[in-house]
């Protein structure tokens, strides 16, 4: 039986992929884990996902600005 599911293919690098997997543990939104650089997710959560990843990456960035 062939199944067709609507969703969004997200192409990303493997680092981000791991973050996505981590986020998925909180709220299940991954429909199918395709491979290292692709993941198939629910269309409704893409914006939220983008925001979350942005935030996580932001926390892990070293900034050059001076303290003052």
């Amino acid at each position: 039986m062939v199944k067709a599911v609507k969703g969004v293919v997200v192409e990303c690098d493997s680092a981000v992929k791991q973050i996505i997997l981590g986020l998925n543990e909180k709220g299940q939104f991954i429909i199918e884990d395709l491979d290292d650089t692709h993941v198939f997710v629910d269309a409704s959560c893409v914006d939220q996902l983008r925001e979350d990843i942005d935030q996580i990456l932001n926390e892990n960035t070293y900034k050059v600005e001076d303290a003052k």
Binding site: M1, V2, K3, V5, K6, G7, V9, V16, L34, I53
Partner: protein, 516 residues
């Protein structure tokens, strides 16, 4: 950069042959169109200008050297055909007769078209020099830009300008009609809305931010193109408008021209162009007008060296009015960017500071300069406004201080790379709406579906082993139908087989229709 720059070509290429035939009646237009061509396109015209019989296609091919030459030739010829300068007739290239005649006139000064601007017969009793014109053009043009960035310098631009800003989607009203909403709105509505007190401040759009980072020449053309679009809806004759634009490009800076023999359309046009600072007229309906630097460099393709409205230039210009041109050229570059991401901008123009503020974290302001840092946050802020890394880099390069120009590359590589990286970093996810097909029961089914989908070029991702593939949203209808057909045919086949060998117990595969 190229987005705006090429648009005048693109615009011209959309016009029908009749329009071209009328346009080419003026030598000035021919010359201006000629200058828009790539170098080899120009050479083709020049080489064939004084050859009477049409040139055979195969002969012209022989002019070009190697495969690189052939590519250039094809490119150039495409443009020439799109502009209706050449036409391929029975294996020969024939030049448009009107263009041929008028372009020859342009070169030899023949004919009597008066397309290069009629000079006034009497001297102007009010003295107008180049410096004054530069000043005027800068003031008018910067007023528009100031209005866009929302600095409260000078009075807001006139209605015509507001119209255009709205129409071109560079700015939208305070109401939430989103980016590019200007297109749907009637021009007049927008202006009246803007004029109303309670309307709120018009907001600059993504497109507007990108616009700010362009060089002035590109900005002016973007404006004029928008004007052309509007002219059609205002029932102005396109040919007259275009002819006038091209004529302006051929005029001489600092000279006055008579407005007496202009058509009513062109007189109206003159009024509007005055508001943008492209021409100067002392008072409405005056018999003479002066083109400013914005006009005379229209068809040159070189950046306008229009100095910004800084005190520094004013003083310098006053000291050496004759050398105004060179001074402004110096002023052109004012930004020093260091490898430690610090930026020093020698300017006191609120406009330039406002533009810098789009992507620089400004820290200190001095009478003649500002300092700031390019940070991840400041760049990300700009990126989120729709400005691209390339635009930022182009802007910084174009306005680099003379001191920086001694280095090659002009900008420190570290900073340039980092800006690019920040842009890439922002786009680490590439989501594409799609359909995931899985659980194919037979490998052939999967493979034929994959083949069919690849032919349609709708496959986003596929995996042979897991028998899964992702199809774009557009491809879903076609591929879905194909799969359904495949399965039903398969089913029929199996039913036949089952009939033939009925006693044989058979595991009929569970086939379900495609879920949607």
């Amino acid at each position: 950069m190229s987005k705006f720059q090429t648009s005048i070509h693109e615009y011209l290429e959309t016009l029908p042959l009749q329009t071209f035939n009328r346009l080419y009646q003026k030598p000035a237009t021919c010359l201006a169109v000629f200058r828009l061509l790539p170098p080899l396109g120009k050479q083709i015209i020049m080489s064939s200008l004084y050859v009477d019989p049409p040139i055979a296609v195969s002969d012209m091919k022989l002019w070009f050297k190697g495969s690189a030459g052939e590519i250039k030739h094809t490119e150039a010829m495409q443009r020439l055909k799109a502009l209706h300068i050449f036409e391929e007739v029975r294996g020969k290239y024939a030049m448009n007769a009107t263009f041929l005649e008028q372009f020859r006139n342009a070169l030899t000064g023949g004919g009597n078209s008066q397309s290069f601007g009629l000079a006034t017969s009497t001297p102007d009793k009010y003295h107008v020099d180049i410096h004054f014109l530069d000043d005027y053009a800068t003031k008018q043009w910067e007023a528009i830009l100031h209005f866009m960035v929302g600095t409260t310098e000078g009075r807001p631009p006139c209605k015509g300008v507001l119209n255009l800003l709205g129409r071109s989607g560079l700015m939208t009203g305070g109401a939430d009609n989103g980016g590019g909403g200007g297109d749907q709105m009637d021009a007049r509505d927008f202006a009246s809305q803007m004029a109303r007190q309670d309307f709120g401040v018009p907001k600059i759009t993504h497109k507007g931010f990108q616009f700010l980072l362009q060089d002035i020449n590109t900005q002016v053309w973007a404006f004029l193109l928008q004007y052309l679009n509007m002219a059609e809806s205002l029932n102005m004759d396109l040919v007259e408008v275009l002819t006038f634009f091209f004529q302006l490009g051929s005029l001489e800076l600092g000279k006055d021209y008579s407005s007496e023999n202009l058509t009513p359309t062109q007189t109206h046009l003159l009024e509007d162009l005055k508001a943008y600072g492209i021409v100067y007229q002392r008072k409405r309906g005056s018999r003479r007008y002066y083109p400013t630097r914005l006009a005379t460099t229209l068809t040159s393709g070189t950046p306008v060296m229009l100095g910004s409205h800084t005190n520094a230039t004013k003083i310098a210009a006053a000291a050496a009015a004759k050398k105004a041109e060179e001074e402004e050229e110096d002023d052109h570059g004012f930004i020093v960017l260091e490898t430690n991401y610090r930026i020093y901008a020698y300017t006191d123009s609120p406009l330039q500071i406002a533009v810098l503020n789009l992507f620089v974290h400004l820290r200190d302001r001095f009478p003649n300069m500002v300092t700031g840092v390019v940070t991840r946050d400041s760049i990300r802020r700009a990126l989120s406004k729709g400005i691209t890394a390339d635009q930022i880099i182009t802007y910084l390069t174009a306005h680099a201080h003379a001191q920086m120009r001694k280095h090659s590359p002009i900008l420190p590589l570290t900073v340039v790379d980092q800006i690019r990286l920040w842009e890439i970093e922002k786009n680490r996810l590439r989501p594409v709406p799609s359909w995931l097909y899985s659980q194919f029961s037979r490998q052939q089914d999967f493979e034929s579906t994959l083949e069919y989908a690849s032919e349609l070029d709708v496959v986003l991702w596929s995996n042979q082993k897991r028998r899964m593939l992702c199809i774009t949203a557009e491809g879903h209808t076609a591929v879905g139908a194909y799969v359904r057909k495949l399965i039903s045919r398969h089913k029929e086949l199996q039913a036949q087989q089952a009939q033939q060998s009925s006693p044989h117990t058979h595991h009929s595969p569970h086939v379900s229709s495609v879920a949607s």
